[in-house]
Symmetry: D2
Subunit: 399 residues, 4 copies
Amino acid sequence: MDKPVRVAVIGTGFMGRMHAQAWRTAHRFFDLPGTPVLSVLVGTNAERTAAAAGRWGFDETATDWRSVVGRPDIDVVDICTPGDTHAEIALAALAAGKHVMCEKPLANDVADADRMVAAAGRAATQGVVSMCGFSYRRTPALSLARRLIEDGRLGEIRHVRAQYLQDWLSDAEAPFTWRLDKERAGSGTLGDIGAHSIDTAQWLTGDRIDGVSATLRTFALTRPVLGEQVGLGGRAHEGAERRHVSVDDAVAFTAAFSGGALGVFEATRMATGHRNSNRIEINGDRGSVAFDFRSMNELDFYDAADPAGEQGFRRIQANEAEHPYAGAWWPPGHGLGYEHLFTHQVVDFVRAVAGDGVAHRELASPTFADAARVQRVLAAVESSAARQSVYTPIEGVSR
Amino acid sequence: MDKPVRVAVIGTGFMGRMHAQAWRTAHRFFDLPGTPVLSVLVGTNAERTAAAAGRWGFDETATDWRSVVGRPDIDVVDICTPGDTHAEIALAALAAGKHVMCEKPLANDVADADRMVAAAGRAATQGVVSMCGFSYRRTPALSLARRLIEDGRLGEIRHVRAQYLQDWLSDAEAPFTWRLDKERAGSGTLGDIGAHSIDTAQWLTGDRIDGVSATLRTFALTRPVLGEQVGLGGRAHEGAERRHVSVDDAVAFTAAFSGGALGVFEATRMATGHRNSNRIEINGDRGSVAFDFRSMNELDFYDAADPAGEQGFRRIQANEAEHPYAGAWWPPGHGLGYEHLFTHQVVDFVRAVAGDGVAHRELASPTFADAARVQRVLAAVESSAARQSVYTPIEGVSR
Amino acid sequence: MDKPVRVAVIGTGFMGRMHAQAWRTAHRFFDLPGTPVLSVLVGTNAERTAAAAGRWGFDETATDWRSVVGRPDIDVVDICTPGDTHAEIALAALAAGKHVMCEKPLANDVADADRMVAAAGRAATQGVVSMCGFSYRRTPALSLARRLIEDGRLGEIRHVRAQYLQDWLSDAEAPFTWRLDKERAGSGTLGDIGAHSIDTAQWLTGDRIDGVSATLRTFALTRPVLGEQVGLGGRAHEGAERRHVSVDDAVAFTAAFSGGALGVFEATRMATGHRNSNRIEINGDRGSVAFDFRSMNELDFYDAADPAGEQGFRRIQANEAEHPYAGAWWPPGHGLGYEHLFTHQVVDFVRAVAGDGVAHRELASPTFADAARVQRVLAAVESSAARQSVYTPIEGVSR
Amino acid sequence: MDKPVRVAVIGTGFMGRMHAQAWRTAHRFFDLPGTPVLSVLVGTNAERTAAAAGRWGFDETATDWRSVVGRPDIDVVDICTPGDTHAEIALAALAAGKHVMCEKPLANDVADADRMVAAAGRAATQGVVSMCGFSYRRTPALSLARRLIEDGRLGEIRHVRAQYLQDWLSDAEAPFTWRLDKERAGSGTLGDIGAHSIDTAQWLTGDRIDGVSATLRTFALTRPVLGEQVGLGGRAHEGAERRHVSVDDAVAFTAAFSGGALGVFEATRMATGHRNSNRIEINGDRGSVAFDFRSMNELDFYDAADPAGEQGFRRIQANEAEHPYAGAWWPPGHGLGYEHLFTHQVVDFVRAVAGDGVAHRELASPTFADAARVQRVLAAVESSAARQSVYTPIEGVSR
């Protein structure tokens, strides 16, 4: 546990906070080949960054990531900024030989994603590890689902249905944020949460999405701007300036999987009553699994091999010693929370980065190439939606 | 309660049995302006029909519906046969001035449906009532949802998501049935259970589906034929003749509703583990409702007007005096079952048929015109699926 | 199906209505050795009885059960009156050689119950069948639980926890009814719904309750009287006469089972929010079952023999061909309701009464002796509650 | 955030680990008047303690708590040892003027608990804070329940039903541990998990338990000893030495609350299938709340003031800004886990210890006096169980 893994986190928002907690915690519960050190926190606003660094336990701060990503005393660059900056930061960090963890979506478009994949590939030959942060993969219940599917327990996969439902934009007068600006965010619900469903679905099934038929929808065309001085409330003042929403509020698409399965995806930030319902269900000819993040510690598993008359979805509390990641924590049934997905992500990343040999490298999953494949699906969704939902094959990824 | 309503049921299958129970039961619990009489049961096989009539309590049997639908001692013709025969029987019955209840889907194609609508319209001028049997409408929990939406409790509707999941064809070796034959059934999962979701969605929202982008899928291309002599099991013998499955096993489509909502529909008979999960959820800007037929006595209702910090889906047991139909049965919390949807259907139909004046006529819902609108959606789904899922407007119904 | 089974139903209340529906329906779905005939409905109020008989389909009515129970054209006397009249009616009917179905609780005290057992025993030697109507036994999900336990799937039973929660008396101003009068009802919640839990628990485990430690509680000591002239509403007028509540609103007790299990029972009619939550869970060293009547079509089953990491309660939809009673109805997943418990009760009773030989007799379960054992538990509960909850063995039943 | 709060944690087991994580984390998310410093970890085994201290981030270690509790560079003594040592350590620490956090149950008997209360009272006059660690209180969903009850939303409380179900001893051959030794643990399930239910119930209702009628049960009278050399597995080798289990496997009792409510409590470590189901439901005449730790982020709330026909338990995701503690974490719907209860406990304790003035002192709840009241209930349960479950008033606490 002695080898330090010195981390620079770029970004002081929600994701920066989650990642910091994960870097602080991973080695407290897991046996790791290296010990994370919170070296530098990078944010554009010096004062706010200093405050965050103090609270989160970083040694130093910086306001320009360019001054940090090449520093010899940094081992890992952890990118937690909006999507429009991912490519530039990642390319610089990889060029400097740093291991890179990058929040999802990998980039705001396929071209950037491809450049990142290429750079990651070159860096990999020097032993540099890169990984994209689709954190939901590391929910123990979903990792268990993955194992059941890999083991053939679901048989031939026929149906994938994924819904990611939130409601924080349900109020049409909820204020404008950078996530509603196509320039910054790349897309709206699609890239923000739909991307999670896409990654989870491809990863769980082990199949690729070959094509999609998609619809995008923006229900609230403008939203009031909440000046910083305006302050605290969740609502803008009367007569506030309004800004055009340039991204989707909701997306729905059907998908053809390479293994023959039919996918149905829906993501929205306007499903009133759903704070964060991230659901996926997969049906094969031998069994099914169903998951909802509202019950993140549980997986429903149906085994068609159970005797007739005793068949039913069994609700597995996936925090036992037998379950991925779960054994490192506390006794069965005591429950993990959202932050632990990020801790597991750090665990695997540190093992990939600091472990002996190359076998551990594959723990850094999804790779940039995996994440670029998600990006291609996002692009195809937008393309299909722009052309009357016509079925749109995913652009040729080398498969 | 004295006025008899003499019924001829055409068809001795699953639906004939459900309808018979409903006709036998409705007046036992509800105040009706007429008393159903099970006059004639019509089936092609004389022996089986006689046995069924004895068990179900019919006065007479017949093997040819033509000999029955014009009889002066028959008031209602209740059509429970496969879809390919609906139009012919209904047209004859309407021409003879009989009230007609017709199982869903109304017909196997739009042309037939339109002829039925026209005939029903002509007959209506003579006081003849016709109605299509989308039985799920009369689940008290869904009727409550309808009332909440009509009352504006959900506000502007943005999302409709409907899944109808069954698994009785999940085993690829499950035997061939008439429901897999396009000639008889019109379509597969689409018309069998997808039609329910379409009707429910349009009825609940009060909106029409304007267009769809759809995919159909057949996973098992052939199935073994189970000769009657082969007998009992659910599986054919080794080397049994195989027959081509000419309909869809699964369907998925997105839909644009006339009121602006985005619909996502999926229906399948191969969702392993789901015996009969008929689910629908609707999100508006003021609230949401969610329903699953597995818990058919309950409706989940989210009211965004609840105070912050106390918001949540509330699970309403929809069998209280305040709820549609429920008060006629037993005390709250004691639960209705599947058969009671059919009883409620008979209740409304008898009131429409035998009530004084014309006000009761509208209880006979959905009308043939409503059902023809569902048929047009089915046709558009098939058309879109045949043309790479391109968005396909519903053919001009007079709106 | 030709042999008639002519039934006299005594009582025109809620239970009379449920039984009538069951007698009307059983032979429509099940193969029975006799066909129920609704011969006579007996009620004290001639006018109301006539109206009910018309609606429910009885051939005749009577106002005095004494004139009916000995009639040669009656085969079965079905007692649906309050508990204070059960013994007298049953004794007369048995003496007349009639088969007797008697609603629960068997009687209002142990002495009456014992006289009924003795009479039933004498009558049985003449082939007369008697049975007590603990209807919940015939929920398919609970029948499945019984089978699993009989088959040893739960191993050694350690825990029984049963809760029967209603809330129709939760409002302290809800009006007085005969169910709150000890003279008529025998006890309150204890005999009304607690008795169901006791019967279910003993039946499921196959064990007897050996002793109890109990508490009774009456929260609302008086309630307003709702004069008939006052009418229909649920609340009495201001200044209405008030009447003393002479029974328990709630009961709780721990129980020792003959097989070593520890039981925890609670029943109340003041559990706000629970219309009719009849729950029971049983834990053995090899598995567990859990049931709630709110989801009456489902049983949760935990099998400790499932592989580590895949263990969990599986939710079985207990309406498949493999499940007790369920195959006679409709396809899996379509759901039964409350009334079907009564239909199943009639099915078993008719088979016991009209079947060939004596093997079918045991279908008439629970016997009066079984029900008397429940009565002894009720008595012990009252006795323990009266003596500071001290552990009170169940009075010596011949075991 | 500058003022250090230097902590010595006594105990290196499960609870030591949870507390360490909480002390490390609290100030990372909450604004605190002092910053916890993990100064010393105390454990009997020097080597294991050193390893744990390294992993958990303590500055120093010690093997004798006596050498630590009086050190001038220690502000807080946090007792995470088995119950038989609590009193001695707490008394020494309080005598030395240290703030004390003590794991539950407060002690192994009432006499020790009373001595601790007296010492805490004396120390309080010097500004010394003491608190007992009933961590479940600080589940946001339960804190919300507390607030609803305090606000009168449930009205007059009538029913409390609490079940704490685990199954880690369900296998009768699961090995012996110190928790099965009355000398070390004081009692079995009763003090281990039953104590949580008692504390939660008294705290939520704001009432005291006045008396109990109880049963204790030990199902497995001996268990195999798992020698350390035998190693890691969960099962002892054939022929292993067996040791007598001197505590209860399960406990059940009814309780009378000072406010008139009827309580039903059950706790067991042999409820097969329940890893950690900590449930409590409370019914008042105006509403109800229900909670299960399996869904620890959710509270079910029934408001009888909802309109008729719209009533139902609403499932509140209790991690919004409006909910206790939750706002400091991440966006609504993303879920907390078991560890966060301990973090919240540290948050309140640090505020009580380091806050200005005395107003914050009451955050250190439950006090030793509160915890001693739980201890008296435990004692009354044992006393009642030893005397045939006779109702046993709680020994006179000054109220």
